[in-house]
């Protein structure tokens, strides 16, 4: 293996730099230096010269913003293929989503949907994501080829899934996934029991046992998302959903809990006590009419909360910028004041705190020396964002995914000037069109009419 000195050096200069460290350091005009996969320098003013003889590639970013790549802390990538289906209909999961998946989801459609999702994510400045779905090995392979970073969570459920005939088969898929990505620098396998109501305490117990033997593998779970879930826990176990997870022994430091809408004060305390981390799906929850997650209350207890898009059949896109406004607005609405959830906290959640949710904050999430070079470059010259008085407010309330110009993961450019470099966009869009045509007939059969 070559020594670090052999790796090429890239120095980005004349940049506005948001470090997103504990002090929210901002360089109005600064620079950042990458060597190999790592950030090796960052600062204000002009970049210092390199030691004698070392060459570098210098890139003038012309006042654009450099910031850490965004972290999407919960999604179902292949559901890009279903975006816009089943809108405005309550009680969709069992009536609509799962039958659709059983008919349409195969390794091939998963591949195509994930390729589309990867392109969309890169173009929105997302460099790391946590996915949970079916045929997760395929998803991991696509993310790897796309150059993205992520957790890939093989989902387990007791209902009939597209990829497993039994829970035993589900665990076999998990084991295969873990083996496939063992030691991978960017792709981390994860085990994802679907939800308390869709696995039951026994399966969650088995996951807890499995997790005890694999303590480094994160667990992903939908939790406290639906009223029907609360009713299930009361009816079946005489308790609340969080307690079913706790009884199963799964409520611990390895757990990433998505949604967490319906929580009592005691449950919030318990999540904090057990070092659970939370993925907040603002738009998806609101579109479902379910409510506003108590994000301020959870963060006040020290619980890391990341921002998430959920699957595109629920939230329609994988665009984290489209979440920023809602994340802020919902907490202000819930608090009855402008004060909750200031813009810079939203940006922290989308980067460093999202990385902490995924257990990756020592590796990514801020532009600090020694971290992986996962970063995005954002233009600030669109008339829609000018003038820039407060760059965090600009990012949260005025910027858009299309302002992301470049994206880098582990020192590798995934996008330059809005062109994704790691996937062939026209070929993927053609594949998507073909899959959508094939889906057409299934859609009609499902509900008796074209959805």
């Amino acid at each position: 293996m070559p020594s670090r000195e052999d790796h090429p050096v890239i120095t980005l200069h004349d940049a506005r730099v948001l470090v997103v460290d504990a002090a929210f350091t901002e360089h109005a005009r600064g620079w950042l230096r990458v060597q190999g996969t790592l950030i090796v320098g960052v600062g204000a003013g002009d970049p210092p010269p390199l030691p004698d003889g070392q060459s570098e590639q210098r890139i003038d970013v012309g006042g654009d913003l450099l910031m850490p790549g965004l972290v999407n802390s919960h999604c179902h990538l292949p559901m890009t293929l279903f975006r816009g289906l089943g809108e405005d209909v309550d009680d969709r999961l069992f009536r609509y989503v799962l039958p659709l998946e059983r008919r349409c989801i195969t390794p091939d459609t998963v591949r195509t949907g994930t390729e589309l999702a990867a392109i969309e994510s890169i173009r929105a400045g997302v460099t790391t994501l946590a996915d949970m779905y079916w045929f997760e090995r395929t998803i991991g392979e696509v993310l790897d080829a796309a150059g993205l970073r992520g957790l890939v969570g093989q989902t387990l459920a007791t209902f009939q899934t597209p990829d497993q005939g039994s829970i035993d088969e589900g665990f076999a898929l998990v084991d295969e996934l873990v083996e496939r990505f063992a030691g991978h620098p960017r792709i981390t396998a994860s085990i994802a029991p679907h939800a308390p109501y869709s696995t039951g305490i026994e399966v969650m117990q088995r996951v807890a046992d499995w997790h005890a033997a694999h303590p480094d593998i994160p667990v992903q779970l939908h939790l406290a998302e639906m009223v029907s879930e609360t009713e299930w826990a009361a009816r079946e176990h005489g308790c609340r959903p969080v307690e079913t997870v706790d009884r199963a022994g799964l409520l611990g430091p390895g757990l990433i809990a998505a949604h967490c809408l319906f929580l009592t004060e005691a449950e919030r305390d318990l999540l904090a006590e057990r070092d659970v981390r939370v993925a907040h799906n603002a738009r998806s929850n609101a579109k479902a009419g379910r409510g506003i997650a108590p994000v301020e209350a959870l963060r006040a207890r020290g619980i890391p909360v990341g921002i998430a898009t959920d699957g595109p059949m629920s939230g329609n896109t994988l665009d984290l910028f489209a979440q920023f406004g809602p994340v802020a607005m919902f907490q202000k609405l819930a608090g009855g004041s402008r004060a909750p959830m200031p813009a810079r906290e939203v940006i922290r959640m989308a980067t460093l705190e999202g990385a902490a949710v995924l257990g990756l904050d020592r590796c990514i999430g801020s532009l600090e020396v020694g971290k992986q070079a996962d970063l995005i470059r954002i233009r600030l010259d669109d008339p829609r964002v000018q003038p820039v008085w407060d760059v965090y407010a600009t990012l949260v309330f005025a910027s858009a995914a299309c302002d992301v110009r470049d994206a880098m993961v582990a020192g590798r450019w995934l996008m330059r000037d809005r062109q994704v470099l790691t996937l062939e966009t026209p070929r993927v869009l053609a594949d998507v069109a073909q899959v959508a045509r094939a889906f057409g007939a299934e859609m009609i059969r499902l509900d008796g009419e074209t959805p």
Copy 2:
């Protein structure tokens, strides 16, 4: 004046056409024909040939969407200059916004701020807007030059404003505005008492008298926006804000009421009875932590409700696409279900119903023969929106302002391929930068620290 036959004909074909008529007519592959300022044909399939000898310009839009231009039913355009200032601070109006305006707002800064706003609006597919601000004549002149359509409302208030030393002077500005734009085909003067609490019943009575003499001039008013307003009405008049407007004789068919958050059931009924129309500022209201306007309840009573951005110091942008998601989500949140506010209703509010709020629905708001040719062309080939199963859901939850390719008002192209044709964007951005530098010192003096 030339006869209509002398006007050039433009035929757009191979378009997906959203008519936004009562039946929500959609042509999966269709065409639209413009002659002079008017839509003279629209339909499915291929455009029929013109009568012998008539020439036309044919434009293949390659499957892009054609739909009516968007209507922003309430804004304060020059406040683009203040976007991102005073974030996360409660009680801003008297502590922050008004002092800032007194120091910084002149005809020159209004011109620059409005030029920036016009560019931003056109690029977001907004072709018609209702503004209320100071130095409104200048705003009308900029909108006219930009080729936009709009109501321009000279604001009146009893607090010290940047443009009037007394209410008499305010009325003089209104009269001047009305004279300036009399008979203008696109710019309509409007009278805009600021709000009940900031004008008082006597001034509102004087506006009502003035309006009785000018029944065709729309009235714009902030109404039922703040808890402090409800407290003012109770304290000063022993009633609710809506009743103060009613006592003044101003609650009638000419009134466009912005916000309408805090309304009793009886007040909702009264607004419907009096043919008042409402501008809904979803993001602005939510960012202020004020609440969710009862849009479903108002529309159920037959009240036309338009979508609005409010000023960019409150809502940060003039991008109506950024409102679509919140408009839908907030009603679903308030209703506790996915069912309220289906996507196509959001699109109706942003077009035909918004036009009705402004009193322009016989002239614009849908792509029907005989209406003004105010339309936008939107690309549907971005990976973020593909595949398109439900084009209304696509527009509301996945599309973005940057997808708007072309914009036309009254048969004139204001933008082609994202280039605004009626204003020089680089010159305007340079002017904005200069104004922002000049503002800098004022900002520092205002709060003792840089905002």
